[in-house]
């Protein structure tokens, strides 16, 4: 019931802000703020509760028959994998509303779309029925499409259509796989499918070419586009750059995680034998993403694009952790998910603040911010160091555990770990070079005379910065949720 409230609360926001009279349209942001705020409080409260009990398995389950003829259920629940993501999602939605405070163009539509996005995201991270999952998965596309195409930058039409079609292309394959699984087992239920698949004779047989391998491949296409894994990543820089600040924050902060979540929730546990045939391919693609994203980020002249390419690199670490198939690797993937959401969310928020002031994202036009906006510069440096994976900050947890996990993995050769280590170095390179060009030096005309970060803006980034520190200092804050799940997953793979 509580989960249903968390999912449905944004719907209230959608309705109220859409129905507001024209005269009270500026009230939409308050509605959205209240709704997303309440959502976050509820989710965070659950996280705290669960942290105390510390049990494994699904919790807060609700299951109602939805389409009985196809045995489709409204089945939702959370566990250590999904609850942190649910909290991150609600937090980022709340902060996205706060960061959009100055939106004056069609505010009712805008905030309704933000609420709808929140609904879709909450649904994806709680759905335990494949049809329900697929529905929420697609629901997410719609508001994001409008956010980019209505409030985006110059090339918003191109970017929004590309975003929509590209992800839609991937999810079609996912739908095929879902239907295939149903035809084999007669169920859409994630909690039962694992056993049903294990009992189905046709789905036995491991390695490349087996049915499980093909099904994994179909899911892979759906999730890989979302993560995104090289070479399916090119929608991402365009969408990130053209999206409004809140859109970029949610896109990078939480929507990319839908992909890795999909791997961990669906394809790896349901199709463990198919996974074994994919591990090496995933590992190689992941390590290419890591290095490639970092190297290309180095060449960027637009700061938003730089952060976008850095996302490709960071999500590569999550994928490498998954590909490793070890407990450290799965923990790493989840830690990267959360940490990247926090760090990149922060970076996009910060870039948005400077864009609001200077109306430019070109790095060469943004120099000497430290001299003009010292507090902003300090926070930016903190976010950059966090993104670089500095120890005592959250980024390190994921990157480091990825290295450990992939080194330990029998499926991946050691050289992959070494190359990933070089990727960490490249990560430092683009971030430091960005800081040198954008933060330090003498102020440019665009930066000269700009006011420092305001209180509202500080409030946007402080929760993220605090979480970055807490997770980085005490890994257990996060890993206490994810490790039981990771251990269970390793057990499934070993069986």
């Amino acid at each position: 019931m509580l989960l249903t409230i968390i999912i449905a609360l944004p719907l209230l926001g959608v309705l109220i802000s859409a129905l507001l009279p024209h005269r009270a349209e500026s009230g939409a942001k308050w509605v959205a703020l209240l709704v997303t705020g309440a959502d976050f409080v509820l989710a965070a409260w659950q996280l705290v509760q669960r942290g105390i009990t510390g049990t494994t398995g699904m919790q807060l389950e609700t299951s109602l028959s939805w389409i009985p003829q196809l045995s489709v259920h409204y089945h939702i629940g959370v566990d250590g994998l999904s609850l942190p993501l649910l909290v991150l999602s609600t937090l980022l939605c709340f902060l996205a509303v706060l960061a959009s405070w100055k939106i004056t163009v069609k505010p009712r539509f805008y905030f309704a779309m933000l609420c709808l996005l929140s609904l879709g995201l909450n649904g994806v991270f709680t759905a335990l029925d494949l049809v329900l999952f697929y529905v929420f998965w697609e629901v997410v596309l719609v508001p994001m499409y409008f956010l980019i195409s209505q409030w985006g930058g110059e090339r918003r039409q191109y970017a929004s259509i590309k975003f929509f079609l590209y992800t839609f292309f991937g999810s079609v394959f996912m739908l095929v796989a879902i239907v295939a699984l149903y035809l084999y087992t007669g169920s859409f239920d994630l909690t039962q499918l694992r056993d049903l698949i294990a009992q189905t004779a046709a789905l036995k047989g491991a390695g490349i070419g087996s049915i499980q391998w093909w099904l994994f491949g179909a899911f892979f296409l759906g999730f890989a586009v979302k993560v995104p894994i090289w070479p399916l990543h090119t929608w991402l820089p365009d969408a990130h750059v053209e999206a409004p600040t809140a859109g970029s924050v949610l896109l990078a902060g939480i929507m990319l995680k839908m992909g890795t979540y999909g791997f961990l929730r669906i394809s790896v546990p349901l199709l463990p034998q198919g996974f074994s045939g994919w591990q090496l391919i995933l590992g190689i693609l992941a390590v290419i993403s890591i290095v490639y994203g970092a190297v290309v980020a180095f060449a960027q002249k637009d700061v938003k694009k730089l952060v976008a390419y850095s996302s490709v690199s960071h999500m590569g670490f999550a994928m490498l952790g998954i590909a490793a198939g070890t407990a450290e690797g799965f923990n790493a993937a989840m830690a990267v998910n959360i940490s990247h959401g926090l760090c990149t969310g922060m970076l996009f928020l910060l870039v948005g603040m400077v864009y609001e002031r200077t109306h430019t994202r070109q790095i060469k036009d943004l120099s000497g911010i430290a001299a003009q906006m010292p507090v902003y510069a300090g926070i930016f440096c903190f976010a950059s160091f966090a993104s670089m994976g500095l120890p005592l900050l959250s980024g390190f947890v994921g990157e480091f555990l990825t290295m450990v996990g992939s080194w330990k993995s029998p499926a991946l050769p050691g050289i992959i770990t070494v190359i990933a280590g070089l990727g960490i170095l490249c990560g430092g390179a683009y971030m430091l070079w960005l800081m040198q060009r954008m933060i330090f030096g003498n102020p440019t005309p665009a930066v000269e005379g700009q006011p420092d970060i305001t209180l509202r803006e500080i409030l946007c980034v402080v929760p993220l910065a605090a979480l970055v520190l807490v997770i980085g200092l005490s890994w257990n804050t996060l890993l206490q949720f994810t490790d039981p799940f990771a251990a269970a997953l390793v057990k499934i793979l070993g069986a």
Binding site: K162, L165, Y166, P231, H233, T234, W235, Y292, V295, V296, A297, F298, A299, Q300, T326, A327, E328, N331, G368, A370, A371, P374, F385, L390, P391, L392, F396, F400, L401, M403, V404, S406, W407, K408, G414, T417, V418, G421, L422, I424, L425, G428, A429, L432, W433, Q436, I439, F440, G441, N442, S474, W475, N476, L479, Q480, D483, P484, A486, A487, V490
Partner: protein
């Protein structure tokens, strides 16, 4: 939190790093004015930390072996796959020794900075970063697990980045800070890989656990982890080939340089190797690499120090060279010699840097060619510099003599005589550049008539360091005992050898520089060496040509690839798809729709035809019938006239016609 019970409860030693860290945390969110005013806070924190460190030293006296903790504390950091991962801090004799050293140097540098940085409006921030830097170093030496060590190692990297780039508006500090961070991070990749490999092998980051299991590691694993750790130390301690960042790091404020060069940062690499010696000694190849790297670096630094004209650069290269000594000592397996030299070097190098700061303030230049005759104007400075510099050269009875002698001794006893020859050559070069600097700066022509003696806040800390440099050498035996070794005084032969080596260089320096002879002829003779030294043995050129520029090129190329090929493919697919839709559209419009339209047209034609037929023929017939019947009716209407005779005539006529028809019909039948 779980305590590992030992005889002593030294929990309060943890306060040593925590106090400066707390000073940093408290001052960080303050406004610039408050921070500037509260510079005493980090100093106070460090003074208390020093007191605690000395108390710890007293408590653990008479010491024990390196790596045998008196007290340790462990936390559970995480569970991975249900397996608990701990981190820990441990107090052993090595850590205590380092704590005392770092605290003393740290306080001296801080006090010195009070005056040195007094005119900078971001001086509060400077003190903040120094406090974090010191906290990280203090925590680093106390760490009982490799993971903690790595974490604080990286924090030191960030602090050095912030200190070197302190004057961020200028180009040089910005570039130098970035270079320092990236080059050391290149080394950290090795640390990363080694950590991952070590954890994979033994499931723990604790030193105790690592050393307990190391005997069972596979040779490959041993190789990967030791090479990774060595590579990391090469980056942090500025060894060949990753040494080029350290001279550039001079772009930061001088007290920051003193901290980086003496007590923190660069010594971290040496310290880490010392800690990991039980792993490294199992791998003879690794030990050989360490020794070779150390000797080559010592030579590299010493040769280049001879060619520098910038006072701070001389010191920077001399640091590289001295670090090479320490690394070489580790390479022959002697932790004590390395640590002893590390300690004495920390004192005299901090002393030299701070004194250089006084000189630079007084003369407003770093170029030694514009200095001269300072001995008369700055007597105290001259005395303390002399103590530091002579200690660096290894003059009896200054501390540098003893620690260098110990390194000479251990290298000699290892039987690697080539290494000893290298070390001795470095000794000659060291006293050469020391003498050169000494004569150029303090004697000869008086270039700096306005130069004045430093203030008390500057002179007190350097005097403390000078005093330590004077006495430290006599602590050879107690210090060795404290670290669990039977120390011994340098043998007479060794002392004589090293003094001879020192005098060699000094004589050379005296002949050239005290007499102010032209070095032109020498330069011509050693032309190749001179031009190579001018280019710093092409190290920067190698970085630039083989790594930095190719990286820029690669990133541009990959970006083009991304935009043109990968995204091009995506857009190409979209374009093809649109082309296809247009084609189908055309097909649809012309053929399928054409057929439909044709059918419709035909149908319409048919309907028109049918309509014509309908309206013309059928309707015509119908209408014709109507007209006919109307016409007939009209015609017949005229018949009905009501005249009987006419009817009669008609009937008769009709009857005649009928009969005639009947007759005709019958006839033809």
């Amino acid at each position: 939190m779980e305590h590992v019970a030992q005889n002593l409860n030294l929990w309060w030693v943890l306060l040593v790093p925590l106090l400066p860290a707390a000073a940093f945390v408290v001052l960080l969110p303050m406004s610039r004015r408050v921070r500037n005013a509260c510079r005493f806070v980090p100093i106070a924190a460090m003074v208390v930390a020093l007191g605690l460190s000395i108390a710890a030293a007293v408590q653990v006296y008479p010491g024990s072996h390196i790596g045998e903790p008196f007290w340790q504390v462990a936390w559970q950091l995480a569970t991975l796959g249900g397996h608990a991962v701990t981190i820990s801090f441990a107090v052993d004799s090595l850590a205590v020794l380092m704590l005392v050293m770092v605290c003393i140097v740290g306080i001296c540098v801080q006090i010195f900075s009070l005056f040195y940085m007094k005119d900078d409006d971001r001086r509060g921030w400077f003190f903040c970063v120094m406090a974090l830097f010191l906290a990280a170093m203090l925590g680093f030496v106390l760490s009982g697990s490799l993971l903690v060590e790595f974490a604080l190692w990286e924090i030191m990297g960030v602090c050095s980045y912030l200190l070197i780039g302190f004057w961020y508006r200028d180009e040089a500090p910005r570039k130098a800070s970035q270079k320092a961070f990236l080059v050391t991070r290149t080394g950290d990749v090795g640390f990363f890989v080694a950590l991952a490999a070590i954890y994979a092998a033994c499931g723990s980051f604790e030193f105790e656990h690592i050393f307990a299991t190391v005997a069972n590691w596979s040779p490959a694993l041993l190789m990967v982890s030791s090479i990774g750790l060595i590579w990391a130390a090469i980056g942090k301690s500025a060894q060949i080939p990753l040494s080029a960042w350290l001279p550039d790091a001079m772009a930061g404020p001088t007290p920051g340089s003193a901290l980086i060069h003496a007590a923190t940062m660069v010594v971290a690499g040496v310290f880490m190797l010392t800690r990991m010696l039980p792993v490294l000694t199992l791998n003879p190849l690794a030990m050989q690499i360490i020794l070779v790297v150390g000797i080559i670096t010592a030579l590299y630094g010493a040769i280049l120090a001879c060619f520098q004209t910038d006072l701070k650069k001389v010191l920077a290269f001399s640091t590289i060279s001295q670090l090479g000594y320490m690394v070489a000592a580790i390479g022959v397996g002697s932790a004590t010699a390395a640590v002893f030299h590390l300690t004495t070097h920390a004192f005299f190098k901090a002393l030299l840097f701070l004194t250089a700061g006084i000189i630079i303030h007084a003369t407003h230049t770093q170029d030694m060619r514009q200095m001269g005759g300072l001995a008369r104007r700055m007597p105290i400075t001259t005395v303390v510099w002399t103590i530091g510099a002579f200690s660096l050269a290894g003059v009896l009875p200054l501390s540098g003599f003893f620690s260098k002698d110990e390194i000479f001794t251990v290298i000699w006893h290892s039987g690697q005589y080539w290494a000893f020859a290298g070390a001795a050559a470095v000794g000659v070069l060291t006293s050469l550049y020391v003498v050169k600097t000494w004569f150029t700066v303090f004697f000869g022509n008086s270039c700096n008539v306005n130069a004045h003696e430093g203030t008390a806040t500057e002179l007190v800390p350097v005097s403390i360091l000078a005093a330590l440099t004077l006495v430290c050498g006599f602590l050879t035996i107690p210090l060795a005992r404290f670290l669990g070794h039977e120390g011994e005084w340098p043998s007479l032969t060794m002392a004589a050898t090293s003094t001879a080596v020192m005098l060699c260089g000094a004589a050379l320096g005296y002949t050239i520089y005290a007499r102010q002879r032209s070095t032109e002829r020498l330069k011509q003779i050693f032309n190749v060496v001179v031009s190579a030294a001018d280019a710093r043995f092409y190290l920067d050129w190698v970085y630039d040509t083989f790594f930095i520029r190719p990286y820029f090129w690669l990133s541009e190329a990959l970006w083009k690839l991304d935009a043109v090929i990968i995204d091009g493919a995506v857009n190409g697919v979209a374009w093809l798809y649109r082309g296809l839709t247009r084609l189908i559209n055309l097909l649809d419009a012309r053929i399928i729709d054409g057929a439909v339209n044709g059918a419709a047209w035909l149908y319409r034609a048919l309907t028109r035809g049918a309509q014509w037929f309908d309206s013309t023929v059928i309707d015509g017939i119908v209408n014709g019938l109507g007209t006919l019947s109307r016409a007939i009716g009209a015609a017949l209407r005229r018949v009905q006239t009501g005249h009987l005779q006419r009817y009669q005539r008609l009937i008769v006529g009709a009857a005649v016609v009928i009969v005639a028809v009947l007759v005709l019909v019958l006839r033809f039948l």
